[in-house]
Symmetry: C2
Subunit: 504 residues, 2 copies
């Protein structure tokens, strides 16, 4: 009989090789979105599908189940935070998810998601919710079936949420999100009625793309992005992807008449990248070397984008550089005006264009609506009306059509139910970690104003990045900040900013 140690060794060896195979899929994906010519689409689909099939076959092999069983029964996993325990626990979770779904359901989900995304695209284009409704119903049915296969009898939404945010529950989120919602609606209301408007015209002047790229690279490098182990390229839809140790990539796009898009977009993707570059590469391919959850990943991007990148101290350091890069656009712009312009807060219809405060109200709505859709409490046909009611209640706006209402996001059409909350989780964790970092490190603003970002990055490396999946998001929050997830730090941050810019 083989020992638990040898089973564990076999398991991790195979997992690492599967991870290399899977990372080849990431190269294909990167290339797809940055280089591939149009006519190569069909062949690329064959390549992607071959890698996915091979990866799936190896990961769902009964051998994996046997190795897991042999180790799970052993002392190797007694300490739940040991490397072995972490690797076995999360591999079991993924293995069960991958093997419990019947192939017919996997196939139907893949096919329906793809068709449904196409239907959504044209429905959005024509603002025609009716044509999309049957697809949404079908997707919801399949997601219910998926949840029932994975965890029969368990709350379905929680099962789907768990895919993106391991260990999180809708009950916990409801408590936290509802405590956030009231004060946030109130704060946004006050900002709107203050009558003050940020001088956003400043950001809409002429910003040549090459100069934008140079400044974006300078900012990414300044906060710690390692260009020796990473790439910044261009793509229509910005994203970040890690192809393996030493190879983390991100993209942005340059709008010559809006400075904010590329600059804050790059800081956002840099935040994601810094997390990937900080994961322990010796554990590559194993849960011990992977990110905690989408919420924690988003907390890293939002921290660098908003808490650092939209701070006054950050611009004390970077505005002089922006003046050199864009002498015409920034002529006669004061630091106060610039700071206000990059912190424009106002209700708007589109989530992806929303500011750091109102963004969360978009997410909260979707979290509430997708639970009601999944449970059946909200019939699919009633979605547009319910959407518009909540937009009016939370943001004081009514969409002129469904394209700018319930059809704006791709997520549901592709089966992404339970994904939205991770965006606001990111903002909450970001603020909570940042508050703690400030306590631990002292005057962060004085550091930022001098262009010193290494202390904050070092703090994140030590407290978050280096642990991989050792702790869940909730455990990490407790360990690092001494508190569970809470809305307090984000609300305090937003109130401070509102007081300074809108309510003083």
């Amino acid at each position: 009989m083989s020992s638990p140690e040898s089973n564990y060794a076999e398991l991790t060896k195979e997992l690492r090789e599967i991870a290399v195979l899977s990372s080849i899929g990431s190269v294909l994906h990167w290339d797809e979105r940055t280089v591939r010519p149009p006519a190569g689409a069909e062949h690329r689909a064959s390549q992607v599908s071959l890698i996915a099939t091979m990866t799936h076959a190896r990961f769902t092999s009964p051998r994996i189940g046997e190795w897991l069983a042999a180790v799970e029964a052993s002392d190797l996993v007694r300490d739940p935070h040991s490397d072995a325990a972490v690797n076995v626990r999360y591999t079991r979770r993924s293995y069960d998810r991958a093997t419990k779904l019947p192939p017919s359901l996997v196939e139907e989900l893949a096919r329906t998601s793809s068709l449904s995304e196409h239907a959504w695209e044209s429905a959005k284009k024509n603002s025609d919710f009716k044509s999309f409704a049957p697809w949404l119903s079908k997707i919801l049915d399949l997601k219910r079936a998926e949840a029932d296969c994975i965890a029969p009898g368990k709350n379905r939404y929680d099962t789907l949420l768990d895919e993106y945010e391991p260990g999180e529950t809708s009950a916990n989120l409801r408590v936290v999100f509802e405590a956030l919602r009231g004060p946030l609606v109130e704060l946004v209301g006050k900002i709107t009625s203050s009558g003050r408007k940020a001088p956003t015209e400043i950001l809409e002047r002429n910003y040549p793309a090459d100069a934008q790229e140079k400044l974006a690279r300078e900012a990414a490098a300044a906060v710690g992005f390692d260009f020796n182990a990473g790439v910044l390229a261009r793509s229509v839809h910005p994203f970040c992807t890690s192809l393996g140790p030493g190879d983390t990539r991100m993209t942005t796009r340059y709008d010559e008449h809006y400075f904010g898009d590329a600059f804050f977009g790059t800081l956002h993707e840099t935040g994601h990248s810094l997390y990937d570059q900080g994961l322990p590469s010796e554990h590559f391919g194993l849960p011990r070397g992977e990110y905690v959850s989408l919420g924690i990943h988003e907390s890293q991007s939002r921290m660098w984008e908003n808490l650092v990148g939209r701070s006054r101290s950050f611009w004390k350091h970077f505005l002089p550089k922006a003046r050199i890069a864009f002498p015409n656009a920034t002529a006669n712009v004061t630091e106060d005006d610039w700071y206000f312009a990059v912190n424009d807060i106002r209700p708007s219809l589109i989530r992806t264009e929303a500011d750091e405060a109102t963004y969360n109200l978009h997410v909260l709505m979707r979290f509430e609506l997708e639970q009601a859709l999944l449970s059946g409490d909200l019939p699919v046909n009633d979605l547009p009306a319910e959407w518009n009611t909540r937009m009016q209640k939370y943001l004081g706006l009514t969409p002129p059509d469904d394209a700018r209402g319930c059809l704006q996001d791709v997520h549901w059409s592709g089966g992404g139910v339970g994904y939205f909350p991770t965006y606001t989780l990111g903002n909450l964790y970001a603020a909570q970690f940042f508050e703690q970092a400030r306590k631990d490190l002292g005057d962060l603003d004085a550091m930022f104003a001098k262009g010193e970002f290494a202390p904050l990055l070092g703090w994140l490396r030590k407290n978050i990045h280096t642990h991989g999946k050792t702790y869940t998001a909730g455990e990490l929050s407790q360990r690092v900040t001494g508190k569970p997830l809470s809305p307090g730090p984000l609300l305090a941050h937003l109130k401070r900013k509102a007081d300074e810019l809108y309510l003083k």
Copy 2:
């Protein structure tokens, strides 16, 4: 018992899937040379090695041998130029090559080549042949062993040559190359002693990279490169690669103080790409859909680079465009001067920088030397002296050091013995095909001067590209030009150019 038809169907299905897998390796290679950050090298090596191992395992599976045997004995392959016969014949050839080598030899070749390339790099840097000599001896030993495994008792050089140029023999090449050498040495001697020098300073003025790229793209598109199914990017060492149907890619590099590098480099890679884009995509993954040989591939690149791109008629059409792109650099430049500048012919030390005439003398030398090295007639330690002797004899120059002599090329260090002749084969076939195209199509120069390149491309598609590997290079030459490979057309072309520019 299964029918030959069903065996053939199984074989081609598996070959197509192996080709998709192998094409994923090409994506990794492309990314490696255009995007990958330095620190990602090690992980990339793991990815490349995993794909190579999986591809090799599937291609050398005994199933392939069984399917081949079942079809080889059948009527399916009776007509040697039928699709099935072509596919079976070339798959047999590759299968035997892949399975006859013992894994230990494959492993030793891979390891030694890699170490030897490193040794060569530093030997070249220090112009220190002595430190490289033991590596070259080891490589030659391994290549002898490889040849003996593949075809025991056969001329070893022919076995190695056959890898790159199927069906070609050193005996035939010697006849053709020797018939080329004498007249070419004589012609180059006349040009040198004519005292006339091309006004190359014109090409060394300021050529901004962006304007160069724009013109290079315009030229590539004009001669037929399909940008909907292809990409032109930048890399340190220009190359062309096909990732599959609809996805052919090439790179170049821009030297702002030398116009020729990027422009003719792009035309060269475009020639390769046009061949790839013209291969029958319905046969992707099978020999019927593959290029004939390296020599034929090179004939396509050289035709567009030299026979088209350095013709006077080409510049009747493109010089006006170059004048718009580079108004300063081309001010006061006459068409005569420009034409002469892009046709500078003069002996030089470095093969990769040589003009279209002297280039072949560099290749002929290497062809002669590598045969003598492999047979043992030339001891490795005598290579530098013998190199310099031939340089003096053919080109009238003596390298000041081995870095600019026998250490200049990477090929031998990586095991590429038998590769060099394909370069001159490319020039010979290009001239021979071009002469025939001129006979078949009429006044090509009048077409080029009007920017009409479609007739020539159509002719190449019909006579060469569309056939894949149906005919060997020799058969193709006979079919298309009615003659076997011969030095006549290239010599005639070079003599015409020399007469016009140097000897009139």
